[in-house]
């Protein structure tokens, strides 16, 4: 008799779902929603926020989630070092609205966030793409993903609005 090859649910699957659940909970508590209407390489979720009247606010935030049971801390014990692919980085740095990388710590049910554009804004771009296929970014353990962090992320999203000058642009 042929044995069926059943799909297995691994710890990686559990961690991925827990990280999604963790982020979604904090977004919901902050009055927003996360969704993924269409799949796109390098992006897991999109945040939509609402104003005090409950109306959809303009702008968007994209999240990329990572999860682990073994948080890679540097020797200072306060910094997480996480590798990201050069391909992802190129995509993220091109965005007009914030791209937030989240690392979820499965052993302690907590997560940390990094605003990719802000992180690289102060760094010379020349060296970014000379390295190998990956580049390590550093999260501070103090940058916990919580409601306060979500408020700050939404504030950054809203700051990305266009700055109208009162003049029409010529037709393209």
């Amino acid at each position: 008799m042929t044995r069926l090859l059943r799909k297995l649910r691994t710890r990686e699957h559990v961690l991925a779902d827990l990280s999604l659940n963790h982020l979604e909970r904090h977004v919901l508590l902050s009055g927003g929603i996360v969704s993924r209407p269409y799949r796109d390489y390098g992006y897991d979720l999109m945040l939509t926020s609402f104003n005090a009247r409950g109306e959809v606010e303009a702008g968007y935030v994209f999240f990329q989630l990572k999860a682990t049971d073994d948080l890679p801390l540097l020797a200072d014990g306060k910094t997480i070092s996480w590798p990201i692919s050069r391909r992802d980085l190129l995509l993220w740095l091109d965005e007009a609205c914030p791209v937030i990388l989240v690392v979820y710590d499965g052993t302690r049910d907590r997560a940390f966030w990094l605003d990719i554009q802000a992180y690289f804004a102060g760094r010379p771009s020349a060296g970014l793409f000379l390295a190998g296929q990956t580049i390590n970014v550093h999260f501070r353990l103090s940058d916990r993903l919580n409601r306060r962090a979500l408020r700050e992320i939404i504030r950054r999203k809203n700051a990305a609005r266009p700055r109208p000058t009162g003049r029409e642009l010529p037709d393209a």
């Binding site: 269409y38 796109d40 109306e55 965005e95 007009a96 700055r163 642009l169």
Partner: protein, 91 residues
């Protein structure tokens, strides 16, 4: 589900038809703002007109047009080809 497809020039036409005008944005980004509601805006990376808009940006447009009451999400899905057109029921 098939991948949504729309060129940036088609998106620009759609937003224009819905009352948005193109406005300057930071860096080389492309901004759109609604004529009657300044708080209703979009900002995109610098797309060429014939480039396909990334699914994530179409997703943002879909969610926001729907939320602002400018276009139902299901209509947007049809426009970008992720919902097959319905065939008439056989007689």
């Amino acid at each position: 589900m098939p991948e949504p497809r729309m060129t940036f020039s088609a998106l620009r036409r759609l937003l224009s038809d819905l009352g948005f005008r193109e406005v300057p944005a930071q860096k080389s980004f492309i901004g759109f703002q609604h004529e009657d509601q300044p708080e209703t805006w979009f900002v995109f990376p610098a797309y060429r007109g014939n480039a396909l808009v990334a699914p994530r940006h179409l997703a943002a447009v879909r969610v926001q047009l729907d939320g602002w009451g400018l276009m139902e999400a299901a209509d947007f899905d049809r426009l970008v080809g992720v919902v097959p057109a319905r065939h008439p029921a056989p007689h």
